[in-house]
Every structure is written in structure tokens, then in C-alpha cells.
Subunit: 525 residues, 2 copies
């Protein structure tokens, strides 16, 4: 894919979006005559995010786009020359100018896969110098995408399958493409759509959105609309003055609700009428600009009933403050009562959307049995992942020239698993994951039905396992989403349990375990 033809080229990471030490190390490798040695890095995380039991792998499509377009521009090379020693051999810069990723191969967990600690999300092979340079951008692209997808999937598991979940966090995101990434990968993780128009345009994420408080406060009620007339939905019969019709309905609504007809804010009503004139088939009211019960709700009902008379059905209301669950129950009660009173049965089931700093705890409350909330908009708490705003992925060298490499630091958590590896997900008879097996690339793949001796990480000894199936790959955003949902549905209840980590097993093969032991023993010699 040529960069010029890629509608997302503007959003893609650039080669210099990297840490300076990648460039200094590149010079070090080049100077040591090692730039083209074949090396392999693994990108993985060390612990599941949010204290949970799984993560979803995501960001692969962004990595592929980045790798395809990877090329240092003249200005990039000149900039690097300005920060490297002045006597650096010009041939090094020639080497950089010619670099691309045509000799780089990537194996990856399919987009949307369940992922577990220590199992590579990406395995990146190629010339040492270039695969080193890729470290920071690949981490940047995978880590946040996977974090967001995981966060979204946790929220989906709490909400259950029926509530609509909308991502609305662009304004709170950490930078513009933080927002684009959040919208894309919250959809992957199980949200139904986003408010982010760019995510709709570039990634095909379903969009949602209606109106904000500013639209409502912009109206005083003294404005004169250029055309207040609306034709009936079926396009038969005369056009009607919607504002006048809504005023007539307001009298009846207020009488039924026991409100003075002067109480509902006339500017708010004018805003609702203006919105309904523009979107007669998709009218929604935002209820809490002035007072939900005394203004927003009766104004919404007046306009919705006026539309109803013309054969249009209002689609929803939104609440953005106060006790969302309790208000939803009260609003549904009013909908039912008005629906019965005026024989508008569709009104009973008008959708109630809520938003306002909803987190896992509030979502649990809103999703409880009997809740009248239909749609839940989540912003800050999905896009910024406040419980853990970084997945903490790492990218570690595992082999050079076919020889295993291992970091043996005194901090055992930071030790790496050496060698070029293959990873397999072993599944039970019902398709649920049993464990992830890491073995050396040279070993024969495990077979379904075969009994295996494996070394679970963190355990003292080996154990035996007999997988019924092995896992398989998938593509595209929508398909990846279905894949993620399917995979999640097959997790055992302990894994879905969000408050504490369940012990999903990642295990090493006999040969890999032996290699680790050998390199550890050889320690610092």
C-alpha cells in the first residue's frame, strides 16, 4: 500500500517517532558490522491489566500500516545526523536512507485474540539494526490499542449483551490519535459505536450522537425559524407548524404531570423543535440542561407527541447528570403513563441513554436487573483507562543469528525467555482455552489429542495436558470484533471475573524450560 493512497497515512506513526537510543544503538550496531545480522524480538506484556485475568491483543493493523510505509525521509536522516557525533561515517546515513521493512517478517496474535502474560503479541524478525529501530513505534501502537480493547471488553462483560455501549471519550483522550485509537479498539472490545466521526470515516466504526447542552442554551425561544412547517412522515396530508403543535401538546402534558405550563424552559423547547425539524426521524432530547422533571422531560414529551401526531417516532432521551439509574426509572414511568394517557404505545419504549463519568462500578449499577437504561455512553473511563493507563508492553531480544539471547537481570520479573519461539493455544473440548504453550521454533507443533508435558510459568514443576483443539487465526476490524467476543464467551467464569486475576496458565515446553535453565546457570559467564 503506497503511503499516498492510504487514507490513514496522516494518522500513522512515523519512523522518527522513536527513542533516541534506538538511533544511537543503530550506529553502534552498524559500527560493529552487525547491522544486517538476523535478529528476533518479541513484544509482550508481563501482567494482565486492571488486575484482571486476560487482555485482548490489538493494534496489529496499525503496525502493518506502519511497517509498510517505513522509510526515513531525507529530513529525518539529516535530523539524526544533527544529534549524532559530527565525525559519524556518512555511509551509516546512506544505510539509513535505504532502510525499509522488506526484510522484516512479523508473526502476530490475530487482532482481537485473548492474550496472556509473556506470550508474544508480535514476533519481529529481520536485520538487527532495523528491528531495533522498530521497538518504540511498535510498542506505542500495540500497547494502547490492546489496553483499550481490554478495557472495553471488561465493560462489555459487566454490561451484558443487551445494553448498547457507546464510546464518547474523544475530548478526554490523550491526544488526537489517542482518541482515534480509543474509538477503534473500544469497538473491537465490544462497544456498539462511537461519537468519533474520524473513526467512522477511517475505520468504519458505527457512529452515534445527537445534541449537547450548548445547542439547548443557544435558544431563548424568541428565535424565528425560517421554516417551522413539517410534512407528515408518510408525506400525505398538509404540513404542520411543529412549534405550535408542540405548544398544544405541552398544555396536555403539563396538565397530566401536574406542572404549570410556564415551568418548562421555552428556549429548551425551541431547541428541541429546531432539532426535530432537522431530524424528524431521529429526534432525541437531552433532558438536564435546566431541570429534568420540570423542564426537559415535559418539553421532550411535547415535541415527541407533536412528532407522533405526524407519524414520526422520537428515538430517545439522554441524561448527563444526577442519579442516572433512578432518573431512568422515573422517566420510564412517565413514558408509560403518558403513552397510556395519549394512546401513543411506541412512547413506552423510547430509548433512555445515560452518560456522565460512568466507570465499572456505576456501570454495574446501571446494568442491574430491572434497569430502564438502554444505552450507556462512556468517555473518560474507557478512553483513558484510569485504573491502569498503560499496558506496559515490552520488546525484548530473544535471538541473534539463530542463537538465543536472554536478559538475566537480578530482578526476576524482568528476566526474559530466550530463543525464537512458537506459541500455541491449547483448547479444551468445548473450545475454551486451557493454556498457552511456548516452545522453541524448531520443535514440532503439538497435535490435538496428544498428551504433553509442560512447565507452567510460576509453578515449581511440570504437568501434563491433553488439548482437544488448537487455536486458529482471523482478519478485519468487524471480524476481529466477532472473534474477540467469541473468545471471551469461551473464557471460564473465573477468567471473566474482573476483580481478581485467575490463574490462566502460560507454560513452557520441555526444551524451552531446559534452555532457560541452561542460560540461567551460565549466568554472568
Amino acid at each position: 500500500m503506497a503511503a499516498e493512497q492510504d487514507p490513514e497515512a496522516l494518522a500513522a506513526a512515523r519512523p522518527l517517532l522513536t527513542d533516541l537510543y534506538q538511533a544511537t544503538m543503530a550506529l553502534g550496531y552498524w559500527n560493529a558490522g552487525r547491522a544486517r545480522e538476523q535478529a528476533e524480538f518479541e513484544l509482550f506484556f508481563r501482567g494482565c491489566p486492571f488486575g484482571g485475568a486476560f487482555a485482548l491483543a490489538a493494534g496489529l493493523r496499525d503496525c502493518v500500516r506502519f511497517l509498510r510505509a517505513f522509510r526515513l525521509q531525507d529530513a529525518d536522516v539529516q535530523f539524526l545526523a544533527s544529534v549524532l557525533p559530527p565525525d559519524t561515517d556518512p555511509a551509516f546515513f546512506e544505510h539509513l536512507r535505504a532502510l525499509d521493512c522488506s526484510d522484516v517478517t512479523v508473526r502476530a496474535l490475530p487482532e482481537g485474540s485473548l492474550a496472556f502474560p509473556g506470550v508474544p503479541l508480535l514476533q519481529v524478525c529481520g536485520p538487527l539494526l532495523v528491528v531495533q529501530l522498530l521497538e518504540t513505534p511498535l510498542l506505542c501502537l500495540v500497547s494502547y490499542a490492546s489496553l483499550i480493547a481490554t478495557n472495553a471488553s471488561r465493560l462489555r462483560l459487566i454490561a451484558g449483551p443487551k445494553k448498547r455501549l457507546l464510546e464518547m471519550g474523544l475530548r478526554r483522550a490523550q491526544g488526537p490519535d489517542g482518541g482515534l485509537t480509543a474509538s477503534t479498539y473500544s469497538y473491537l472490545g465490544g462497544f456498539d459505536g462511537s461519537s468519533n466521526v474520524l473513526a467512522g470515516q477511517l475505520r468504519g466504526v458505527p457512529l452515534a450522537g445527537t445534541l449537547a447542552h450548548s445547542f439547548i442554551t443557544s435558544f431563548l425561544g424568541t428565535e424565528v425559524p425560517p421554516d417551522p412547517m413539517l410534512a407528515p412522515a408518510a408525506s400525505q396530508g398538509p404540513r404542520v407548524d411543529l412549534a405550535a403543535c408542540a405548544e398544544a401538546w405541552l398544555d396536555r402534558v403539563c396538565a397530566h404531570l401536574g406542572l404549570g405550563v410556564q415551568e418548562p424552559h421555552r428556549g429548551e423547547r425551541a431547541a428541541f423543535v429546531a432539532y426535530a425539524l432537522a431530524f424528524p426521524r431521529a429526534f432525541q432530547g437531552l433532558l438536564d440542561t435546566y431541570s429534568v422533571q420540570r423542564s426537559g422531560l415535559p418539553n421532550f414529551l411535547a415535541v415527541a407527541l407533536a412528532l407522533g401526531e405526524l407519524g414520526y417516532r422520537a428515538v430517545g432521551v439522554r441524561l448527563d447528570s444526577g442519579d442516572l439509574l433512578q432518573q431512568a426509572q422515573e422517566i420510564r414511568r412517565v413514558f408509560r403513563s403518558i403513552s397510556a394517557q395519549f394512546q401513543m404505545p411506541w412512547l413506552e419504549s423510547v430509548s433512555i441513554t445515560v452518560s456522565n463519568n460512568i466507570d465499572e462500578e456505576e456501570l454495574t449499577r446501571l446494568a442491574q436487573e430491572g434497569s430502564e437504561v438502554n444505552v450507556i455512553g462512556i468517555g473518560t473511563n474507557v478512553v483513558t483507562c484510569p485504573r491502569q493507563p498503560s499496558l506496559g508492553c515490552v520488546y525484548k531480544l530473544v535471538s541473534v543469528g539463530g542463537q538465543p539471547r536472554m536478559k538475566l537481570t537480578e530482578d526476576p520479573e524482568k528476566q526474559t525467555l530466550p530463543g525464537s519461539k512458537a506459541a500455541f493455544r491449547l483448547l479444551g473440548a468445548d473450545g475454551s482455552p486451557l493454556l498457552d504453550l511456548l516452545q522453541l521454533a524448531e520443535e514440532a507443533p503439538p497435535r490435538a489429542g496428544q498428551e504433553l508435558r509442560v512447565w507452567p510459568r510460576g509453578a515449581q514443576g511440570a504437568c501434563r495436558v491433553r488439548p482437544a483443539h488448537l487455536c486458529e487465526p482471523l482478519p478485519s476490524l468487524a471480524e476481529s470484533r466477532a472473534f474477540a467476543q467469541l473468545s471471551l464467551s469461551r473464557l471460564s467464569p473465573e477468567h471473566k471475573q474482573l476483580q481478581q486475576p485467575a490463574p490462566y496458565r502460560v507454560a513452557l515446553s520441555d526444551k524451552l524450560q531446559a534452555l532457560v535453565a541452561r542460560l540461567r546457570a551460565g549466568g554472568s559467564s
Copy 2:
């Protein structure tokens, strides 16, 4: 500035990076004949981040770039047409095609200003339709930039003026330009530099970086360097085999430290030699790949002393695991002892850099009196702001057609301050901020020395204040940084106190207070 000539055009936000409801409201305004009415929005935050007493305003330059380039492309308009009702008047899309920000004016707190709750960071005036469309991108650009600058300034206040603080969080950032924004605005907030090459190239942020564990583990010690010879620093005298020279020094270092000469890892030493050959004037060692005391430190010393013999001075070491403070003390002790033993006095003061998940608590420890740490690299905890990953800025309509607008929602925290306003910072005789005064735009500006009656927000009544000075503006990243540091230095100790908020006063003028009271009383009528 034309978009094609702007080296950052690629990184800039795009018009469709917005919430769908901005587009639906735009149609609502257009349909109501109100697209060109003059409106004013204010962008502000409601509470200081991190439970602190101030924020730094930032992101203005990104906003200016965005506004200058703001223009919907044909593909953008076509996309909007695809998500709006099919019978939408084509003239609306023509209007969108012709939109730009030439009729929009922005007043703003200067980049790097201290900012307090409720005081506008931006005041955006222009045609209602376009200033509404700008809401989401402006929030996205200002909110995170200001959050990062504030977070960085808190870390700077803890570290004190002498420690070097480096931002190293690109790999943990929430998306590519989350990383670019973090690097830029952590510098504004008081960091000394960043590892992010793109921030150096595009924004002039000073860069830092040396080598990672992968560089070290990539060497076994059996590699044959193409050219192991190094000329002396003064370029006089014969070239020397640096590896051989380091081996000779290793014997002496190990003898002095009581280590076996086989203990230090030969691959690590080969990596240090390779790095030193590429960067003889900027040699640094990363010490914790195998064992700091038994391998990294003696290997570093052997290479540093070999370089020293040739007249080069090693510049530093880095630690990335374990107890960083304690190890720094031990390493400094060894530096002093080796320096005395071999009469290399410069070795005593070689810089010690530490990194590894450093947060405010750990930084407090590392910055304590007597600490031997010189440079502190912070990643995740500066770029993702885990204590509060979003500033929660809002963008509220305050006037249309010169008439004040107010959101009166039943949640008092979400009520807005109506009217087109001017804000003034009143300063004491020493230049320290006394309070921020919000008044109506039509009021005469306060004068230094004048006694004013003002209404502090959150207080019951009015009080009197007599400012010695009023505050003034500034430009550019480096100047803004200096401005921010100066402003911070003038905050009172209670404001710098990071654990709890100090009651910095934001107050309303008599006239603004009266307007609020009038609109509140007129409530929902």
C-alpha cells in the same frame, strides 16, 4: 501557514476528529437559520488535577495550527452526508465545504500560564455553527497538553532545580501523538529533555538516549569488530585496541573490587566496547543486564578507564531495576574509590541516571538530600498521568448574539458562568498571584493599586482586594517554559504543596455576580 508547508501537518488534528453531535447540531443550527449568529464559548476545567492547587495551560500552539488549517475536504463532507438524513438540504453541505476559521477569534491564557478552575484557557468567538464544530478538537488538544505540563511541573517541584529530569515514556503513551504531546509539554512543564526523536525534530525538545538491554544481550563477546582501534581524544599518538585495553583495565578493576576476572559478562563488555567505539566522547553504560555489582559496574569501569587513558571521559551510567537510590550510593562509592586508586579524578563525578517506573513517591526518595542520583528518567508516570489521566476540560456556550447564556442544570458543579468575560490575574507586590478575577467583557479593566470588591467562588460573600500588579502574556515553547517556571516559583508554598489543594481564589466581579444571580433566579422560566 499552508498545511503543505507545515512540517507538523501530519500530526495535526483534522476537522472530522470530532463528535458526531457537533455535525448534527451544525445541521440543527443551519436549519434554524442560526449558523452565522455570533457566539462565544469558553474552554476551562472545573477542578485542579492530581488533587493539587494549580494547572499549567498548554496546547495553544496546537490549537492555532489546527484553526489555521481547518477546512473540510470533499471526502469529509461526503462522509458527513452519508451519516446525516438523506433528504438534508444540499446547501448545508455547500456551507460546510466553504467553512474555515477566518471569522473565528481566540483569546487564550498564554502557553505555560498557571491556570485555575473556571477561568477560561480559551475564549472562542465566531459564527455559531463553526465554533460549535471546534469543541471536540480544541478540548482534545488543550486538555491533555495541560494535564501533561501540570504533571511534569509537579515532578519538577519534587525533584528540585538540580536533578535532570528526562521524559522517556513514548512507548507507554496513549497513541503516537499522545507521545508527541507528552514529550513536548513535559518539557514545557519543567523536564530537561526527552527520548522522543520526533519531539526533537518537530518541536526542538532537547534529546537524550544511549542504549538498551537488547544492545547488550545482542553481544556474546565472540564478535569480531571491523575496527577495534581508537585514536586518542587529542588525535595525537597511536591508535589503540580499545577491547584489549579494556581487558587490561578489567584485571586491575576486579583486583581492586575483589571480583574474579571471569565474573563480568564478556558479551556485556563487548557491547560497552562497541558503544564506546561509536561514541568515545559520550560513552554511557547500562549496568543491570546481568548483575550490576559483579558485571555491569566492573565492565563499565574497565571501558571507562581504557577511554580515560586515551583522554576521553565517560559521561554516565544508567540503572533500570532494583533499589535505585541505594545502588546509586554504592556506585558513587565505587567511583570515588576507583577514581582515587587510579588517579582518574573525573570518574568521581560520572553521572548516574536511574529509571524504572518512577512516580512522585519514588522521586521524592531519589531527590532527597545526599542522593547520588543525577538524572532521572520517567516514562509511564509522566506520560499517562496515572493519578488522573484526564483533565476533564469542558467547552461551554456563554453568549449568543451578545446575550449571555447559562446552563442551569440541577447539579451545581455543572452550572456555567454566563456572558462574554474578561479574566485578570491580580498579583501581590512580589509578583505572586493573589486571585483571578472574572468580569464581564464590557467592564473597565481593573487597575493596579485600585481596591476592588469581588466575589470569591464558593464563598458566601464579597471581599476586597487591592492588586499591586496585573499579569501579562508571552510566546514560543522555550519562552513558555521559562514563563511557566517563573510563574511556579512565585506560587506560595501552599500552592506548591502537592498533596492537597490550596484555596487559590477565583472571584467574580460585582456585575458578573449580579448576572449569575439574575439568570439563576430566572431559572426555568
